[in-house]
């Protein structure tokens, strides 16, 4: 399993949120697949050098949002994802990024036409 989690102490985002977000990200990108086991709370806490409670809170958060499931005594694993939900959340990300792009474009005084060209260019490049 490839799990990259980077914790920043300087940001305003609480550490449990950073962990939850990064694991979510792994799941959405498909880097963590369904029913794949996650590290135990205690060993993750040790490896990240943070407290057990913080780690537990991150897992609780993920569980609440349906990303992971925990079986008592066995540990946590990636839950079967609701494809519709996953798609929705991905669309939401696209919308967010696009609206950011639009704001940036406005401040750079780009026309809609130019923006469309740009989008087309990126879409073709990704193919």
């Amino acid at each position: 399993m490839l799990l990259n989690i980077i914790i920043s102490n300087t940001g305003d985002k609480p550490i449990y949120q950073q962990i939850a977000d990064q694991i979510k990200d792994h799941i959405m990108k498909g880097l963590l697949e369904e029913s794949e086991p996650l590290p135990s709370i205690r060993s993750l806490a040790k490896d990240l050098n943070i407290s057990v409670i913080t780690t537990k809170r991150a897992y609780d958060e993920l569980e609440k949002e349906g990303f992971i499931a925990t079986i008592a005594g066995k540990g946590s694993y990636v839950a079967a994802q609701n494809k519709e939900l996953l798609r929705e959340s991905r669309i939401k990300i696209v919308e967010e990024k696009l609206s950011e792009a639009v704001i940036a474009a406005k401040s750079a005084e780009l026309t809609f036409k130019e923006l469309e060209e740009m989008l087309k260019f990126f879409c073709e490049e990704e193919k």
């Binding site: 609480p14 040790k46 050098n49 943070i50 407290s51 057990v52 409670i53």
Partner: protein
Amino acid sequence: MENILEVKSLTKTFQDFTLSNISFSLPRGFITGFIGPNGSGKTTTIKLIMNLLKKDRGEVSIFGLDHIRHEREIKNRIGFVYDESHFYEELTVERMKRFIASAYNNWDEEKFRSLAGKFSLPLNKSIKDLSRGMKVKFSLAAALSHKADLLIMDEPTSGLDPVVRSEILDILHDVIQDENKGVFFSTHITSDLDRIADYIIMIYKGEILFNKTKDELIEEHAVIKGPLSLLDTSLKNNLIGIKKGIYGFEALTAGKEAADALVKAGAAAEKPALEDIMLYYTRKENGNA
């Protein structure tokens, strides 16, 4: 039995200091930091728990057992590390270890060997020739080699360099990989606890100020920096340990609403470190200096 250590209304009076009626508990499976400035009563509390000092009043139970009635049974399951080693300087590490081992029912020699290797303990050196860091590591190795369920540490990291300190903190994580074990870690160097502590108990002038999860503590407090003019408003009542400067003030707030109100009025709010919380709370009384 959820709690590994329970202290109820513990009281001890000295000529110049009173530990008054303190109560707290330690859940299993976590690291609990016990913080407070020097002279607040941390060592007194630990000595009372270990029955090195005789309590005036109160109850202490460890593993659900009374700490005096079941003293030996309990001490068999406690690992202790104090700020000074109090080991016989004339003995070699190996000899001292043999003595300690003979006192415990379930000494685990293999575990000791492995820790001694990990810490590079010089087994044949006299204890008087060990550095302070090495003495602490030896204490820790001894504390972890008899299958202890509770680790009690009194200022173990004071006077150690950052490398040794981080090694020691690492080991504490190893201990609580077993969710039935607990660590009670007293220190005035709170930066040791910023990352690893699950719970924080703060003691000041012989009284417990709070006992919370570290995350709660950090989240509900904020360091506020703002213009001096704010101190003339009613917002001032929300501030703890105000420190006035020429260009503005710094203080701590408890509770999100208090911080929000101050930010709205033009102050800046920052996430506190444990040290900030300790400093501002203990500054409270000479606040407007």
